[in-house]
């Protein structure tokens, strides 16, 4: 495993591996508390870090409640509203959802909640597979700056940011470095 990168004036640590672990475990507990019918829950990750986060939350719930939580993947690339406006296209992947969705509680899981446009695209994609009983939203970081009327039901950490700043989430299974969340400041000009 690579060394965790050091912080610098432009790269500030927000969460370390322990903090990420505790935040996801807390989200798992909140889900259990709020949704009595755990069998109806599907944790639906948005690629690629949302998928890993969904897997970890499912693991936490599975460990404490002795139940296998269904998980899925929802691809948002072909449901985005900015196709043709971006110089490079997002990579499209197949969605994987446990069908049918009717009667189930889908919890969309992403690493960073920002404008809300990705979540809108995810809801749009999900509705083409069926009609779940309800859709909720979980995010490791909520950084504000919403452009749509969307809010998260489960949040790991609220982090007020400037829109020019970036949030960098690193997860061991995806990025091959220690779990961490960083705030990237734009370079001063």
């Amino acid at each position: 495993m690579k060394q965790t990168k050091q912080s610098s004036p432009g790269r500030l640590p927000i969460m370390d591996a322990g903090a990420v672990h505790r935040a996801l475990r807390r989200i798992a507990h909140e889900i259990v508390e709020r949704d009595p019918d755990l069998r109806s829950i599907v944790l639906v990750g948005i690629p690629s870090r949302g998928v890993e986060i969904a897997r970890r939350i499912a693991e936490f719930i599975g460990a404490s409640e002795k139940i296998d939580i269904d998980t899925g993947i929802v691809d948002v690339a072909m449901h985005r509203d900015d196709v043709g406006q971006r110089p490079e296209l997002p990579v499209v992947r197949a969605s994987k959802l446990p069908l049918p969705l009717e009667g189930r509680t889908l919890i969309i899981v992403d690493d960073v909640l920002f404008t809300g446009r990705t979540v809108r695209a995810a809801m749009d994609a999900i509705s083409s597979f069926g009609r779940p009983a309800r859709i909720q939203l979980a995010a490791l970081i909520d950084r504000g700056h919403r452009e749509l009327p969307i809010r998260a039901d489960y949040v790991g950490k609220n982090l007020p940011t400037a829109s020019r700043e970036q949030i960098q989430v690193r997860l061991e299974n995806i990025d091959h470095e220690l779990d961490a969340v960083w705030l990237l400041k734009p370079e001063e000009k």
């Binding site: 969605s95 446990p98 069908l99």
Partner: protein, 328 residues
């Protein structure tokens, strides 16, 4: 319902890592100009679009607000319909123009017609033309994306891509496979695009047919040539039978239908030479009893209808990639 729930639980381990490739072409003119990475990228993108066909609502908004013009200066129902349905599933608007309704008969040049289409703000032009190079000509002059749906005897890239996708889907991989293409190679844009695609992805290709239709020059493309189908079939992993194009055949090239079937047709008896897992492919429409026996075309080894299904997904991927990038 609970039983269905547990059996369909998804596996997260299969999520691919973010592809390093970036697609930056507005046009798809042929496979000759594409790299192996680009071809694989289209095939991977196709996986995602194939899955759209299994959803309750088989439509995504990816190309909403875009206008696609199907411009066919040569008759074709299946390719045009496949592109049309692909565009519908991506929420694009579609106009079909075929030779009988176009002004070409009135003397308008290809460039004028295309410019007129562009003045209508067409974003994607799908072109079928009898002249090789027509799509390149337009792609260089138009802002719109140009997709080659077959130009003369030059290339038919989406047909080759759907063939590659079907092989990859059924056999799990392409490198190392022995693919045999049988028939009218000389006049076949399908064969040409397949040769470029298959050799780039590491398959071994053998062309089979009468020497008039399978000239030695093709060896320069890195393929083997045979005029005896019975020698080749036992080692084949895929047999792709091309349609005998009656409308293009002239006497000097062609031995006659009966003789062709006898020498090169995939008859029931000849199919016994094949390995049990060899795939039988055909771009359609099939001349039953000419290049392939009915029983073989409908048999267990035939993937001809999978090709049709995959053609739709491949065309969705191509339209999405070429039509979805920002044009300068």
């Amino acid at each position: 319902m609970s039983a269905a729930r547990t059996s369909t639980t998804t596996s997260l381990a299969e999520v691919p890592s973010a592809a390093a490739m970036r697609w930056n072409r507005k046009d798809l003119l042929g496979l000759r100009e594409l790299s192996a990475d680009e071809i694989n990228f289209i095939l991977e993108t196709t996986d995602a679009f194939k899955q759209v066909g299994t959803r309750e609502i088989k439509k995504v908004p990816a190309l909403r607000g875009k206008t696609l013009v199907n411009f066919f200066i040569e008759p074709s129902t299946r390719t045009r319909t496949s592109f049309e349905l692909a565009a519908f599933r991506l929420s694009a608007d579609v106009i079909n123009i075929s030779v009988s309704t176009s002004s070409l008969t009135k003397g308008e040049t290809l460039k004028d017609t295309a410019r007129n289409l562009e003045a209508l703000h067409a974003d994607i032009l799908v072109l079928r033309h009898s002249s090789a190079g027509a799509p390149q000509f337009l792609a260089q002059r138009l802002k719109a994306s140009v997709i080659n749906a077959g130009d003369g005897a030059h290339e038919h890239p989406t047909q080759a891509l759907l063939d590659l996708y079907t092989i990859r889907e059924k056999r799990g991989k392409i490198p190392g496979l022995h693919v045999v293409i049988v028939g009218d190679i000389l006049f076949s844009r399908v064969a040409r695009s397949n040769i470029f695609g298959l050799t780039k992805l590491g398959a071994r290709v053998t062309l089979v047919g009468p020497s008039t239709l399978v000239p030695r020059e093709f060896e320069k493309l890195g393929v083997a040539i045979s005029h005896n189908i019975d020698n080749v079939l036992p080692s084949a992993d895929v047999v792709n039978l091309l349609r005998i194009q009656h409308e293009r055949q002239r006497k000097e090239y062609f031995p006659g239908i009966g003789e062709y079937t006898q020498l090169f047709g995939l008859t029931k008896e000849r199919a016994k030479l094949l390995k049990p897992d060899c795939l039988i492919m055909h771009p359609g429409p099939i001349n039953r009893g000419v290049e392939i026996d009915s029983e073989v075309a409908d048999g267990l080894q035939s993937v001809i209808l999978d090709q049709v299904t995959n053609g739709l997904a491949v065309r969705m991927a191509v339209l999405y990639l070429c039509g979805g990038i920002a044009t300068p």
